[in-house]
């Protein structure tokens, strides 16, 4: 089965986020003065083949851990959805 994994990567809580701070300042200059902390991250979409959702989820987490995120600085979460193609369908 084909799946789409979405990996969302952000800096760990406690790691200073200079981009987030700059964005927060920009928002304040537009009048959004009730904004709290802003954190900027990455959104990676990976299409992959797996026998079931659990395997797809495990693969996505492994990819995130090994390369998509840097565990020293970043944390991530994954979500996996089956793609609509049927198993065996030409892609």
């Amino acid at each position: 089965m084909r799946f789409q994994a979405i990996v969302t990567i952000t800096l760990k809580p406690g790691v200073l986020d200079p981009q987030g701070t700059a964005v927060k300042r920009a928002l304040a200059s537009l009048g959004y003065d009730r904004v709290g902390e802003v954190r900027v991250g990455k959104h990676v979409v990976v299409e992959l083949e797996a026998s079931d959702r659990a395997e797809a989820e495990a693969q996505a987490r492994e990819m995130a851990w090994r390369v998509l995120a840097n565990p020293v600085l970043e944390t991530f979460r994954t979500s996996v959805e089956p793609l609509e193609h049927q198993a065996g369908e030409a892609v």
Binding site: P18, Q19, V67, V72
Partner: protein, 235 residues
């Protein structure tokens, strides 16, 4: 000292490093494409500055999958000298050959200027020509040089004397004002536990001739040559 300067797609300080080694210091050096999988013939390896793989994903994140990096890991484990400058330092951290990571500069700006650096450890193959407390003047040029590591790693680096260079003012005082990028503990360069792998954000290869404003960078390469000569004599 036979040195490989590894060229990744997007490296841009490779020729500067080669020039210092070959032309200024008269050493045999080679520019080696990143697909080269065997670096055993070299005494030392330089990972130069630049923007390998366009800094895609994170600075240094993709370069670590080049065949040359497997060779670098092998030679590092065999005790060869590995010097990572700027993007090379980022690659060494991403590859896990040095601890920690380099993130976006605190002020977000790309910092391109001369800085002062205090030599914290002269007990490395890269700084043995210096004395602890010496102040070097080298240029930086980076947007992601903000050194980060967790508390435990920082404590280990400090207690083992592996913080080699720290940003300081011209009198050697380590202050917040002298820190150009927000690096924790003003860290500009660190070594691995065996001290044969050294990464630093400043550019010694851009400051090895007086014409360029400073010769202090030459000390790094001269130190390496001394170390290699001693190693050869010992064998």
């Amino acid at each position: 000292m036979r040195t490989a300067v590894v060229v990744f797609p997007g490296s841009n300080c490779d020729h500067d490093a080669y020039h210092v080694l070959a032309d200024v210091l008269g050493q045999p050096a080679e520019l080696v494409w990143h697909e080269e999988a065997d670096l055993a013939r070299f005494d030392a390896i330089v990972l130069p500055g630049g923007f390998s793989y366009g800094d895609y994903l994170r600075a240094g994140a993709l370069a670590r999958f080049s065949p040359a990096m497997q060779a670098v890991r092998r030679e590092a484990e065999a005790g060869k000298l590995v010097l990572g400058i700027c993007n090379g330092f980022q690659i060494l951290c991403e590859a896990g050959l040095l601890p920690g990571a380099l993130q976006q500069n605190e002020g977000l700006g790309f910092r391109c200027e001369f800085v002062h650096l205090r030599v914290e450890s002269a007990d490395t193959p890269f700084t043995n020509r210096c004395r602890p407390g010496d102040v070097l003047r080298l240029p930086i040029a980076h947007g992601q040089g903000n050194y980060y590591a967790d508390e435990a790693t920082l404590a280990e680096l400090e207690s083992e004397g592996r913080v080699v260079l720290r940003y300081c003012d011209e009198r050697g005082r380590v202050t917040a004002e002298a820190n150009p990028n927000g690096s924790l503990h003003n860290i500009a360069g660190i070594a691995n536990r065996e001290r044969n792998v050294f990464g630093l954000m400043p550019h010694p290869e851009r400051s090895a001739e007086s014409l360029l404003g400073s010769e202090d960078g030459r000390l790094v390469f001269l130190s390496m040559m001394d170390s290699v000569a001693r190693e050869v004599a010992r064998r």
